[in-house]
């Protein structure tokens, strides 16, 4: 099978970006980021003035840089990522190891940040995208390549397990779950037979006690335990979960108004600028605010599925579904823990939560998505490919 056989797309022709640009997806993203900027000053209520100011500037800066990155990437053929995958992946693995160098910084009990001088950066953020690209590449090879099953399985296993192991070493449970989630979805969509999922589920069940004992710290363990029994920690995680519910509940239809939420003002919500930012939205902007966010995410996710379905090649399909899964998990887990149906893990709400590295990574992923979209096969919203 020759190389050109792999693709339907004529890559010598550049798509007309003005026609092919995915305006709806882009609008949903801008909408979410704007919501984030609206709620941010309120979410930082009670912080030092100087901190509020600098964080706000970083967030606006991240927003602008992010948009530029996304538009620029949309013009680049995503096939570049296929060619560059190993370098991108390698660079990110290196960055992950840097947390153990003197550049590493410890926050909230986990050493998973590196200090770049002007700002800090969480290498696990971009690692997610690098891993998705690598897995998509492997899956495509697998789909096209006959007779080298063992080699393929080992390769995909290695490229996935290495970053996951590093994330677990950093005791970052939330991010580890993101990895597992997008990997499973990608395999599922690639067509892995159901019996393999069953085997993996059993293996996960066996691995659980070891992860529990060695990969989690006390704080993480207690968060999970408290999810099942809030009375275990009435002033810690259980208290946080209860407060989040109070905050959401007191918002009702239209909310208390920006900066007026009583729970928010009491300063008791933990990491309310990131993990619990959704509670602040609910308290101050009410059901209306919450619905806008959920709707925008729905648009974003449904567009991503569509892009995956209509992508011109396997690589594009898997890459898009991986990015989709990453966003979906962030969204479900973050909102889920805010409303008390998921255990508390430190997973931010994409585009809304404070944080420069997460914002830029998210826009980066959107840029890749836009690029796949621009090179899609023609068709409608749920268009059939043929």
């Amino acid at each position: 099978m020759s190389h050109s056989d792999r693709y339907d797309l004529d890559r010598s022709k550049r798509p007309n970006m003005l026609l092919k640009f995915d305006y709806i997806l882009f609008a949903a993203v801008i909408g979410l980021a704007v919501m984030g900027i609206i709620i941010l000053p309120s979410a930082m209520l009670g912080y030092k003035e100087s901190v509020i100011k600098s964080t706000f500037i970083v967030q606006i800066g991240g927003f602008i840089v992010g948009i530029i990155i996304a538009i620029a990437l949309s013009c680049v053929d995503y096939i570049v990522f296929r060619h560059m995958a190993i370098f991108f992946y390698g660079a990110n693995i290196l960055a992950m190891l840097l947390v153990y160098s003197p550049l590493g910084v410890e926050r909230y009990g986990s050493r998973n940040w590196i200090d770049l001088g002007i700002t800090t950066y969480q290498p696990a953020e971009l690692m997610k995208l690098a891993t998705i690209i690598m897995v998509a590449l492997c899956l495509e090879d697998m789909k096209l390549d006959n007779g080298r099953t063992l080699y393929n399985v080992l390769r995909i296993g290695f490229f996935f397990a290495l970053p996951l192991g590093l994330v677990l070493l950093q005791k970052d449970l939330g991010t580890a779950l993101v990895f597992v989630f997008f990997f499973v979805i990608m395999l599922f969509v690639a067509g892995l037979k159901m019996r393999y999922f069953a085997v993996t589920a059993v293996a996960a069940l066996i691995a659980f006690p070891f992860v529990w004992k060695f990969a989690l710290n006390d704080a993480r363990r207690s968060r999970i335990l408290t999810f099942f029994d809030p009375s275990l920690d009435p002033i810690g995680a259980g208290f946080q979960a209860r407060l989040a519910k109070y905050a959401i509940g007191s918002g009702q239809i239209s909310g208390k108004g920006l900066g007026n939420g009583p729970i928010n003002n009491a300063g008791q919500l933990p990491v309310k600028d990131s993990d619990f930012v959704f509670s602040v939205v609910c308290e101050e902007l009410g059901f209306i605010g919450a619905s806008i966010i959920i709707f925008l995410f729905f648009v974003l996710l449904i567009k991503m599925i569509g892009i995956s379905r209509r992508s011109s090649d396997y690589f594009g399909q898997y890459l898009a579904i991986g990015i989709f899964a990453m966003f979906l998990f962030h969204f479900l887990e973050n909102i889920g823990m805010n409303i008390g149906i998921m255990p508390i893990t430190g997973v931010p709400l994409p585009f809304i939560s404070k944080g420069g590295s997460s914002l830029i990574t998210n826009f980066f992923s959107i840029g890749v998505m836009l690029s796949i979209s621009a090179r899609r096969k023609s068709g409608g919203f749920f268009g059939e490919s043929s």
Binding site: Y246, Q252, E283, L328, G336
Partner: protein
């Protein structure tokens, strides 16, 4: 597309053409999940909304902390060494202050006023307080560790002006009632009550309790809602630690080494360890210079710190902390290493006897001994010739030890040094234990010199622990410092048990060594360590240091065990670099300095522990019968005179000598122990002028001569030691009231240059 799917069918583990079907499943699933999220948010906001809103209003104020009380540290008899006193933490709720109904007309003025009053009463910076008052959140800490009287003032102001939003909660502050006592062992805590050194740090987890909380649920309008409740989680107080230290012995030890440091102008400080040899418990462990635990970061006293003075000292810079660490905070008894000198000879003796090389009566030669080109001499120029081994120990003859060690052989000799634990840490739980220094591959000469305690270094604690093994019949024990840990209700959580490392030597050998060492004190170089009626076994040591040749730094020590037939106490007394000796000869040696000072200390410790004394004939002949001065309270001169006569004391009346007059005052006071035949001075008038007398010079007099001379001046004498007068206090020529007790130290000379 179709074509490709066909190809993939050959791959067994992936089924082909699943993308469309499966991505449809995912679309359905996530749409469902998103809808569920929206429904759940709606449910919380609409159905539960009203209820949660009420609860939310109740969550207006910040969780406040009730600090758990840190555990107390006791001495072995239950005396308090470190305790947490209750002080207070003042915090405010800026939102409550802002919403105060009574001052809504001019809230800016009110906020300013609150900040002013807080800064005034609590003595904190106004600008900082004002900034905190103007914050938008619900909790700001104003000051911690506020004393009771300040709080009373604060409460008064709050009541008078009906101030709302200022909170007072319990906080704890560490307090050390004995200031510098056992400072190196107890250690101190930081501002957050966390242990920073000593037991406070090592047992921090035990001592720290678990803080309690008040989850206040009062709404901003100061109206308690029907649903409101205050959740109070009680603090769990820390565990208490009982040390093996005896406060009284520790005090006696510290007083003694402090006095010695002054008297002998000691340059590098001093250390002393007192242990119970049968359990390994440390009864006292002192290091000089020391520091006040209540002010651990204060300017170090008793040391020279170049380039710093008290006025600019902060105690907070890294450099200053380093200075503190290397001076007053340093536990010399634990962290320093020193050359033990002749105090090591009993250890060598154990090896010789245990191996059957000699018995205590074997005749040995003290002649000069040449080995590998070096010649080892006895301190006595003429040498002691041939003598039985026990006498060689009494006389501290170096060539004897060198010869015997060479006969024993390097391997066997060092196996004993190792067995006594000199190569290992003692295992005490205190941190900062020093590491001993030995030759890696000792030659015969290294060993010969080591046999009399030179050219290697050990820690004082290793030395004391080794002596404990000799004292208890050969068991090397782990030194204990913590006796037990109890919780705040008094239940025992941990109890220290005697820990035997190994049997070092037979009980027989140890008994023999003790007997010889008793002779050292009774007859030999350690005779200044003699305490009347007490069977003290011991050995003195004078150690050279690397700077001995440059600045004359010697480390002088005495290591003693008493009573020798049934040992209860082991004591090691070390002075590092004494510069002068009040004795004319200005002799610097363990026998001349450490032994007599240790003897005085042993005397006091034996009295305190009520150790039975058996006086020898020699003791009785030298010992003036001492009697206790009776009380003259409510007695006439006649009555008192009769009472004094009964115990063998004379009387001198100052003022009107009328038998019927009542005695107004007396000197020495009731309870003093003075020799029989001394004179007690009494005054019959309230305003009687004290009769003064010049203290005579007693230098080099014998006990009897000194006593006669003092008696003739109507002065009393307190006797220490035996032999000739070496030291007196007050000094000769000072004017003192008659009846004053003059403390006189006697020394046996004639062992100059020993060791």
């Amino acid at each position: 597309m179709k074509k490709k799917e066909k190809n993939t069918e050959k791959i067994t583990w992936i089924s082909g053409g699943q993308l469309r079907k499966r991505s449809l499943i995912i679309t359905l699933c996530f749409t469902l999940l998103l809808s569920m999220l929206a429904v759940r948010v709606g449910y919380i906001q609409f159905v539960k909304g009203a209820e949660y809103q009420k609860l939310a209003t109740n969550q207006q104020t910040k969780t406040r902390v009730i600090t758990a009380k840190r555990g107390t540290i006791y001495d072995r008899n239950g005396n308090t060494l470190a305790i947490s006193a209750t002080v207070y933490r003042v915090s405010i709720n800026p939102r409550d202050i802002k919403k105060d109904e009574n001052h809504q007309d001019n809230i800016a003025e009110h906020q300013k006023h609150v900040a002013e009053k807080l800064s005034e009463i609590l003595d904190v910076n106004y600008a900082e307080v004002y900034e905190k008052v103007m914050k938008t959140n619900a909790y700001q800490e104003i000051k911690r560790k506020v004393e009771d009287e300040v709080i009373t003032e604060l409460r008064k102001w709050i009541d008078e002006e009906d101030i709302f939003g200022v909170y007072i909660d319990e906080d704890a502050k560490r307090y050390y009632p004995n200031n510098s006592l056992a400072s190196h062992i107890i250690g101190f805590t930081g501002t957050d009550d966390q242990g920073l050194s000593g037991i406070e740090a090592i047992y921090d987890e035990h001592l720290t309790g678990e803080d309690g909380y008040i989850l206040t649920e009062v709404d901003a309008a100061r109206q308690s809602l029907p649903l409101a409740e205050e959740v109070r989680i009680e603090p769990k107080n820390g565990n208490n630690i009982t040390l093996t230290i005896d406060e009284t012995i520790q005090y006696l030890v510290e007083k003694s080494i402090e006095q010695s440091v002054k008297d002998y102008n000691v340059k590098n400080g001093a250390a002393c360890i007192v242990m119970n040899p049968n359990t390994g418990e440390i009864l006292a462990m002192a290091s000089n210079p020391d520091f006040d635990l209540n002010e651990p970061f204060a300017f170090p006293t008793g040391v020279e710190v170049e380039g710093y003075d008290e006025s600019t000292w902060t105690g907070r810079t890294q450099e200053e902390v380093n200075i503190l660490n290397s001076t007053v905070w340093r536990n010399k008894a634990l962290s320093d290493t020193y050359e033990p000198g002749s105090t090591f000879k009993p250890i060598s003796s154990v090896a010789f006897l245990e191996e059957g090389l000699i018995t205590k009566d074997t005749i040995v030669s003290d002649s000069n001994y040449t080995l590998m080109g070096s010649t080892i001499h006895c301190w006595k120029k003429a040498t002691h010739g041939t003598e039985p081994f026990y006498k060689a120990v009494w006389n501290s003859c170096n060539p004897v030890f060198a010869r015997l060690a060479v006969q024993l052989g390097v391997e066997k000799y060092y196996s004993y040094v190792r067995a006594f634990g000199f190569y290992d840490k003692t295992g005490i739980i205190l941190s900062g234990e020093g590491t001993s220094i030995f030759h890696k591959e000792p030659t015969e000469l290294d060993m010969a010199v080591a046999a009399f305690g030179q050219r290697f270094q050990v820690t004082p604690l290793q030395m004391a622990t080794a002596y404990c093994a000799i004292a208890n019949g050969g068991e090397l024990l782990v030194p204990q410092i913590v006796k037990e840990v109890t919780d705040s209700e008094g239940n025992v959580i941990e109890k220290a048990e005697k820990e035997v490392v190994r049997q070092v030597a037979s009980t027989e050998t140890c008994k023999t060594i003790l007997e010889i060492m008793r002779g050292v004190v009774a007859e030999g170089t350690g005779s200044n360590g003699y305490v009347k009626g007490l069977r003290v076994a011991g050995k003195t040591g004078t150690s050279e240091t690397v700077t001995t040749d440059i600045d004359g730094r010697y480390i002088v020590s005495f290591c003693g065990i008493f009573p020798s037939d049934n040992p209860e106490v082991v004591i090691l007394y070390i002075l590092d670099h004494p510069v002068s000796n009040p004795n004319q000869t200005n002799l610097i040696s363990g026998g001349a300095i450490s032994a007599p000072e240790a003897a005085k200390l042993i005397d006091e410790i034996a009295n305190y522990l009520k150790i039975e004394r058996v006086y020898s004939d020699k003791d009785t002949s030298e010992l003036k019968n001492t009697v206790m001065v009776p009380s003259s309270e409510n007695k006439t001169v006649g009555q008192f005179k009769a009472e004094l006569k009964k115990v063998g004391l004379n009387i001198k009346v100052v003022g009107d000598d009328n038998e019927d007059l009542y005695v107004k005052s007396q000197m020495p006071a009731e309870g003093y122990l003075i020799p029989e035949g001394s004179t007690v001075v009494v005054y019959t008038a309230d305003d009687a002028q004290e009769e003064m007398v010049e203290v005579p010079d007693l230098k080099n007099l014998s006990v009897n001569e000194a006593l006669n001379k003092l008696n003739s001046k109507n002065l009393c004498m307190k006797i220490y030691g035996s032999g000739k007068v070496m030291k007196q206090s007050p000094a000769a020529g000072e004017l003192v009231p008659i009846g004053t007790v003059v403390t006189v130290d006697f020394r046996t000379l004639g062992f100059e240059g020993a060791e």
